[in-house]
Amino acid sequence: MISLEEFKRSFKVALWFMFLTFPLLVIKVNPIERTVLWKWENMAFVGIGAFILSVLIRAFFIQKERSRNSSKNKRRFGYIGDEPLVQFILREPKYLYPLSGGVLIFALLFPALFDTYQTNIMTTALMYVVLGLGLNIVVGLAGLLDLGYVAFYLVGAYSYALLNYHFDIGFWMALPIGAMLAALFGIVLGFPVLRLRGDYLAIVTLGFGEIIRLVMENWNAFSHGPSGISNIPRPGFFGMDLSLDSAILYIYYLVVALVIITIFVVNRLQDSRLGRAWIALREDEIACQAMGIDKTKTKLTAFALGATWAGLVGVIFAAKTTFINPASFTFLESAIILSIVVLGGMGSILGVIFGALVLILLPEYLRVFSEYRMLAFGGILVVMMVFRPQGLIANVRRTYQFKKSTKGGDS
């Protein structure tokens, strides 16, 4: 069990946190009426809370240590042999197909099982799945850290909104146009940053995202400025106008279809010549060039293809909310999409899907905690990263094993 020494340490931790939170939690001043409110009870809560939490965490680690020592070859939870269960399922079509079929059926029946609100937030979450998968091409596969991904999303959304406003172009026409414009912007951004590496790339993409948003905010004649564009039509169903409920349903199925297409395409891309070039580029640029891969072309296609998905989702976003303004496309949005990719597991398609579902649905379900919602969200982000730095479902590198009658692992 936990020794006295450990308790002492936890006690020290508690003291430290009481000190840390002292001015912000305990003192509340009213600078106008010049009164001070001392909330000592908060300090007590922090102390007790920190102590209990610290003891629990210690106990958890001791337990973990002990079980690791005593049972080296016992079965671990969620593992089959040495392989995590998820990877095992992914590798075996025997399990994979029925399982994905089941998920698909669930997805199709979802609106029937749950109410409109649930369908609506699920649509949002699925849109982020596509965004995550798109960014995954750039960040996860090609290893280019992009903090301004939201710019392409904005391009997609505004292309539909503006084309519709000026030329009355419908949703289905706008969809490919938005995607193409976004891809074009991807290439435009890609060119100047080809030489940049790592974090320099990150800040330039961040700057690019901000520039596009600020231009939209200031250039009233073009974009209607901060008051945005309203009354964007929802997608029509063969020329019919749908009621709100059925429109939500319609968009939901549209997004489900888009998710399936995206998964298919991204999966194929990963295994293609291009996909392997991306991964090679991520691992070592110089070795990659030495192997005869055209670095410029490979990077640009990564940007362009990543941006395409953002453009597609952007168009759907505009059609879904029927109103857009630049405030929806801030840096925080880019950060959330990036978190989806990293939290899910970089480069892993299934991981990104889980990441998006968790990160987008979490704040919605955290509404139960009302004002503590975003506090919990930030905290969970940290805790998840600390406990699973490789992401929820880590990408497993392709390995070939010589075994009888197996084809080798798939990621």
């Binding site: 609100y117 008051s227 309203s230 909310t321 303004n325 975003m374």
Partner: protein
């Protein structure tokens, strides 16, 4: 109270609302606005106002014998979140909503409410199109629209202060920029003054001295500012510190006691339009006292508007006898109600009638009406 709301939300979240026996004995009042993120300071006071009004109503036996239940939802002032919030409230069976706070979020959410026959009343969404376009028959507000304010400011600047060269500054936001542009249109149409500068400042920037120098160079004899009090107080402070004493005229995003507190002595002499002086109105005092008692601090932005909106909604439900859309709309338009912002009812388009409008000036740390 809180726990019950939590449980209901949870139940709604799992999708049980349909199978639950209709919770018929309560009236659900939705409250939506930003309660987290950078704009939280504009949403939280409204939430508190709603909580206080509802607590009072419930303590007095509710509306027509039914208790009022609050459903508070955060929309972070973002249109896409606001649509989710709206769908959630509609799914939960809410028929009356106090919110949203930002015009953009309101615009995105309104079609969803309209479709479900939900009455929406905002304490703060001032975009003119919300009422004037006629697209949102379910929308009401207890605040004046941007163009009305801009007109009042321009008239005041030209006719009362006799200014000729005016610098129009805004905060690039939905509200501020819209107002600034109306001000520019009215100024140019009047033919009496000219706009020597029209620029936006970046909200949250660490320092505004460059724009202040630019105003000085433009040789303006007055500034009209569209936006909220944090930026206004920064600009005024830096103007006064740079010894620029030209008049500073702003809107009801600035006519907020926080402005005087934050800008301190530099706030002296600043003009701001706002709802008529309510300090003589006992209801306004009651509202502020209730807040002080509950939270031990002064209320924040749009608190009185939200308090009034809550009272107006409660009254409408009482008069209509139900939350039926047409009955409520009729009640809102026909029945006068005493609120902290005055005795009000609503016109055809949804704007409040009876919310007097006045120009204020800061004198000795207080907004005083300019007669």
């Amino acid at each position: 109270m809180k726990l019950r709301v939590g449980q209901t939300l949870l139940a709604a979240a799992i999708g049980l609302t349909m199978t639950l026996p209709a919770v018929a004995e309560t009236i659900k009042l939705g409250v939506a606005g930003p309660h987290s993120g950078d704009l939280a300071s504009y949403g939280i006071p409204s939430r508190k106002a709603a909580e206080l009004v509802v607590a009072k109503v419930n303590a007095n036996g509710g509306i027509n014998g039914k208790q009022v239940e609050l459903m508070v939802e955060d929309d972070v002032c973002k249109p896409e979140v606001a649509t989710n919030t709206a769908t959630k409230l509609v799914s939960a069976g809410v028929k009356v909503v106090l919110g949203h706070i930002c015009s953009g979020a309101t615009k995105a959410a309104l079609p969803i409410y309209n479709n479900a026959g939900v009455i929406v009343m905002s304490p703060s969404a001032t975009n003119p199109a919300l009422t004037q376009s006629g697209e949102y028959p379910n929308f009401f507000r207890t605040i004046a629209s941007d163009d009305a304010q801009a007109k009042a400011e321009v008239n005041f600047a030209l006719n009362v202060l006799g200014l000729k060269k005016i610098a129009v500054i805004h905060d690039k936001g939905d509200y501020g920029k819209g107002l600034a542009e109306f001000a520019k249109i009215f100024l140019e149409a009047s033919g009496k003054g000219e706009v020597v500068l029209l620029e936006g400042v970046t909200p949250g920037a660490v320092d505004y001295s460059a724009i202040v120098q630019k105003i000085k160079r433009s040789d303006a004899d007055g500034v009209i500012f569209g936006g909220y009090h944090p930026e206004a107080s920064k600009i005024v402070t830096q103007m006064r510190k740079k010894r620029m004493e030209i008049p500073f005229i702003s809107d009801d995003g600035v006519k907020d006691d926080t402005f005087i507190k934050v800008a301190g002595k530099y706030a002296e002499g600043v003009y701001a339009t706002g709802p008529q002086d309510n300090s003589a109105n006992p209801l306004s005092q009651t509202a502020i006292d209730a807040h002080k008692q509950a939270y031990n601090e002064d209320p924040g932005a749009f608190y009185e508007n939200a308090y009034s909106a809550a009272l107006a909604l409660v009254n409408a439900i009482q008069v209509a006898g139900s939350t039926d859309f047409d009955a409520m709309k009729k009640a809102l338009q026909s029945s006068d109600v005493d609120t902290p912002v005055g005795k009000i009812h609503f016109d055809e388009s949804g704007d409040a009638v009876g919310v007097g409008f006045a120009m204020y000036q800061v004198k000795d740390g207080q907004f005083v009406e300019v007669k």
